[in-house]
């Protein structure tokens, strides 16, 4: 039996991280790694071998072929015709950075982090953390169709955390990461961001517990972005649809959200989820998941596209030399025309949820839960009492249908998304959105 398809990925990475804790260096570390991943498809079954020995690609290819054949013999999978590449098969992308982080002495980076830390020294701040990381990933991708792709991507960024104490403890945090070099510090004002983070932590000390129940809410761009990524984006991943684990199964072409809502995934945007080709050698393009409230597209790998009879893919990604799976890139809610002030004015009694401490979703049942970093009570059209530990939960499709206003202030936030044990850089984008009714829970 012959293999239907194989691909080989070779990665060389170098990574440096610095952690400053309470103003003192906690860690400076550099790691180098070389790794190869080889994937073979035999009649619907995949075999995969990854190894730290990149000089033994032939062995890895043999091993992956044997694995695929054994898997096929033991427990045959439904076969599928792998779709052939329609775009270019030779893609070369060497990212141009304005300032290569490796040219900046470690001592200078440490000093900058110390300057950032100084901005957090407010009276009630008892603890601070600043971390920085830079990585360069050199990837060479080849496959049995003759594709030859190469990329060098530099990623760089920083994160800030401040803890305030007054009886109890409250935390503020923020981060900025991008596909760029050390110029990230020109793009964002890290010093004022640090001050904002510390101020937010201090303000949370006097914030009140949130009321619970079904209320009108406004989500800020960060939380709305997390919502669209977690609750909708994951459900639009075609592997979950195929597993029967997505509420979007069977909904294609149907109205699933307020007609104010359009959602796209776009790996070509210069945000943290950018990639020049996906981990199957496919040239990526924008995918419109929802257009004016109607479900338009799922996100695909070559396998899911073939299995669902869809002509194109471009969302297969892998952490390091892991197995490529369907992933988001830069996922965002298209801008509307409402202003934030108008939204607030329209609410008699509700909650403005700000920022995110993360969240989780069950795409199969369509339920989600997120914790906002903080909130504000809205009374008679005005922002009033500051709130802490506000959470939002409910049914994804209900929330999407309950969107009554979409703001004109789209913002992107960088993050790492976890799926099947692999972490990928992504960004979530959204403007402010207003929801007529959502379940809010306090944790007081």
């Amino acid at each position: 039996m012959d293999a239907d398809f194989h691909d080989i990925k070779i990665l060389e990475t170098s990574n440096t991280s610095i952690i400053l804790d309470n103003g003192a260096i906690e860690e400076i570390a550099t790691s180098f790694s070389k790794r190869a991943g080889v994937r073979v498809l035999v009649d619907g079954s995949w075999g995969f071998t990854s190894t730290d020995d990149i000089d033994a690609i032939d062995d890895a290819l043999r091993s992956a072929t044997t694995l695929a054949m054994q898997a096929h013999e033991k427990a045959p999978c439904t076969s599928f015709p792998i779709i052939t590449l329609t775009g270019p098969t030779n893609i070369r992308h060497i990212s141009k950075v304005k300032k290569d982080p490796r040219d900046v002495p470690v001592e200078e980076k440490v000093q900058l982090l110390k300057d950032i830390e100084q901005q957090m020294k407010l009276p009630q701040i008892v603890s601070t953390n600043v971390h920085y990381s830079e990585s360069e990933i050199h990837m060479i991708y080849t496959n049995s169709e003759g594709a030859e792709c190469e990329s060098k991507l530099t990623r760089c960024g920083f994160g800030i955390t401040a803890i305030a104490k007054d009886g109890d403890l409250q935390m503020g945090s923020d981060s900025r990461f991008g596909v760029c070099g050390y110029e990230i510090f020109n793009r964002y004002d890290a010093l004022s961001l640090a001050n904002d983070v510390a101020t937010a932590a201090v303000q949370l000390l006097s914030a009140k517990a949130s009321p619970g129940g079904h209320l009108p809410v406004i989500l800020d761009p960060k939380l709305a972005g997390v919502f669209i990524h977690e609750a909708l984006g994951h459900a639009a991943e075609a592997d979950l649809v195929l597993e029967g684990c997505s509420i979007l199964k069977g909904e294609m072409g149907k109205r699933i959200a307020s007609e104010l809502i359009s959602v796209h995934d776009d790996p070509t945007l210069p945000e943290f989820g950018y990639y020049p080709f996906d981990d199957e050698g496919v040239l990526p393009a924008r995918t419109t998941i929802i257009q004016d409230g109607v479900l338009n597209h799922y996100l695909h790998s070559r396998e899911t596209a073939a299995r669902l009879g869809f002509p194109k893919s471009g969302n297969a990604r892998a952490q390091g030399c892991g197995i490529p799976i369907v992933r988001m890139s830069n996922t965002f809610i298209e801008e509307g025309d409402a202003s934030f002030d108008e939204m607030v004015e329209d609410i008699q009694y509700g909650i403005y949820l700000i920022g995110s401490r993360g969240g989780q979703t069950n795409p199969g049942e369509g339920v989600f839960q997120f914790n906002a970093e903080k909130g504000r009570l809205i009374e008679n059209g005005s922002l009033t009492t500051p709130l802490r530990n506000v959470s939002l939960s409910g049914n994804t499709l209900e929330i999407l249908k309950n969107v009554v206003a979409v703001g004109n202030d789209l913002k992107y936030h960088s993050g790492l998304c976890g799926k099947n044990g692999q972490l990928m850089p992504v960004s979530d984008g959204a403007p402010h959105i207003m929801i007529s009714s959502a379940m809010v829970g306090g944790s007081a």
Partner: protein, 443 residues
């Protein structure tokens, strides 16, 4: 045995010559076989070979770290570690040294030769058993699953004369099921062990059975009720909301709600929590931790009183005491930090469900990673929850949120079951909390 690709002793010597006061080389050599399941099919078989090393060097009371799996870069890695240590020493010279002259205890059940030698074909058979179990329940089907088994050897060599090596094996399987009958409900189940003694059919059956039993749930009103957390749910809560506060690193940095609470009551009187690096067959068991400190058993909470925090070498040095053997690394490419080994929750067991006249049984929670690790506040969605009435498990409950604070929760524990289970490296029975705030979707 000489680890593949490098002579650790000579690296230690070279780093000392290059100016390090102390040196440590941590080396890993391992292999992993993993299988992915999509619906009821084996969709991917994977093998990976992992080897590499991390080097720590100390200079003037500070430590620097660098790692590689490219052994042509060893000189650069040594140089980085020394340079970083020197930069760091300008801030604080509070490093007290790597372990020395250690005697290592004997541990049982960490290496299974059968698991080390297992072939792909046998692994696929185990996956098929798990799939069969999941398909054996009416109305339910598996949606995805995973299987992994690994065998690896860690070697630690330092300039204080330590040269210690240990091999371990691990096998784990997990599966997600969905049940449908108009309504839709999901559940997942898993098991993990150091040897080939897992019942894979049972994992599959349990996932589908739980999904099926969760169909057509009722909604309830918000309020304060007794809640029984199954081991999976309780381990998730403890792991995310309590464990960070037990780390000496967080305590020393003022990032723990337990600062200054040693010797005081922080939990229900009958609750004990122990961290045991020596536990036979434990997922976190080994003769030594990841910086060569001999493993030990540490009492953390005894009769509700906080007795101890968890220490690695660095945090122990700062408090002028000995490491508790809790220096843990995620891989050779990360420096050690404080982590748990096998954390065991103990409470006098009873037939807890039949002793509960009214309450809610929660199988697992989602969103625990959003807990506030400093204050212990959490707000999560309960999954696969059931009403308990007159000592029996009754109808499933849909859309239920649970919010609270782990330190308040610890004080309100008033019962536990016999069903102690290892949820990864946290071992716990079902635990009952006397009154817990729940937010139902009926207002």
């Amino acid at each position: 045995m000489m680890p593949r690709g490098c002579d650790m002793g000579s690296i230690v010597e070279r780093a000392e010559q290059a100016g390090a006061d102390e040196v440590e080389v941590f080396h890993v050599d391992g292999k992993v076989t993993s299988i992915d399941i999509k619906r009821d099919e084996v969709s991917l078989a994977e093998r990976s070979i992992i080897y590499g090393m991390g080097i720590r060097a100390s200079v003037d009371g500070a430590v620097g770290f660098s790692s590689t799996n490219d052994f042509t870069k060893v000189e650069e890695v040594i140089e980085n570690a020394i340079r970083y240590a020197a930069i760091k020493s300008q801030d604080a010279g509070d490093w007290r040294g790597f372990p020395s002259n250690s005697k290592y205890p004997k541990v049982d059940g960490v290496f299974d030769k059968k698991l080390h030698d297992i072939g792909l074909s046998a692994c696929i058979d185990l996956c098929c058993e798990m799939i069969d179990g999941a398909k054996s329940v009416e109305r339910a089907m598996p949606t995805s699953g995973s299987f992994a088994c690994s065998s690896s050897t860690r070697t630690i060599c330092n300039s204080n004369g330590i040269m210690v090596c240990e091999s371990g094996t691990l096998i784990e399987g997990s599966i997600d099921s969905v049940a449908r009958d108009g309504d839709i409900s999901t559940a997942s189940e898993f098991d993990i062990s150091r040897s080939l003694d897992i019942d894979f059919y049972q994992i599959g059956f349990n996932a589908s059975d739980l999904a099926s039993r969760s169909l057509n749930g009722i909604t309830i009103e918000s309020g304060e009720v007794p809640v029984l957390f199954r081991p999976t749910a309780f381990a998730d809560i403890i792991g995310h909301a309590l464990v960070p506060s037990l780390s000496a690193d967080n305590v020393q940095k003022g990032r723990s709600a337990l600062c200054g609470r040693l010797g005081t009551a922080i939990a229900s009187e009958e609750l004990d929590i122990i961290d045991d690096g020596l536990l036979a067959k434990g997922v976190g068991t080994a003769r030594m931790d990841d910086e060569g400190t001999p493993s030990q058993k540490s009492s953390i909470i005894v009769n509700g009183m906080l007795e101890n925090f968890l220490y690695d070498c660095y945090t122990a040095g700062k408090d002028a005491r000995k490491s508790t053997g809790n220096g843990v690394r995620h891989s050779y490419s990360s420096a050690p930090s404080v982590g748990i080994r096998n954390m065991t929750v103990q409470y006098p067991p009873t037939d807890i469900i039949s002793e509960t006249s009214h309450g809610i049984l929660v199988s697992s929670v989602i969103g625990m990673h959003t807990a506030n690790p400093v204050s212990g506040d959490f707000s999560v969605e309960a999954r696969n929850a059931f009403m308990i009435r007159d000592g029996s498990i009754c109808e499933p409950v849909k859309s239920l949120m649970i919010s609270g604070n782990v330190f308040e929760l610890l004080q309100k524990i008033d019962g536990a079951g016999f069903d102690v289970r290892a949820v990864g490296n946290i071992l716990t029975p079902t635990v009952r909390v006397s009154n817990q705030r729940v937010i139902g979707s009926r207002g």
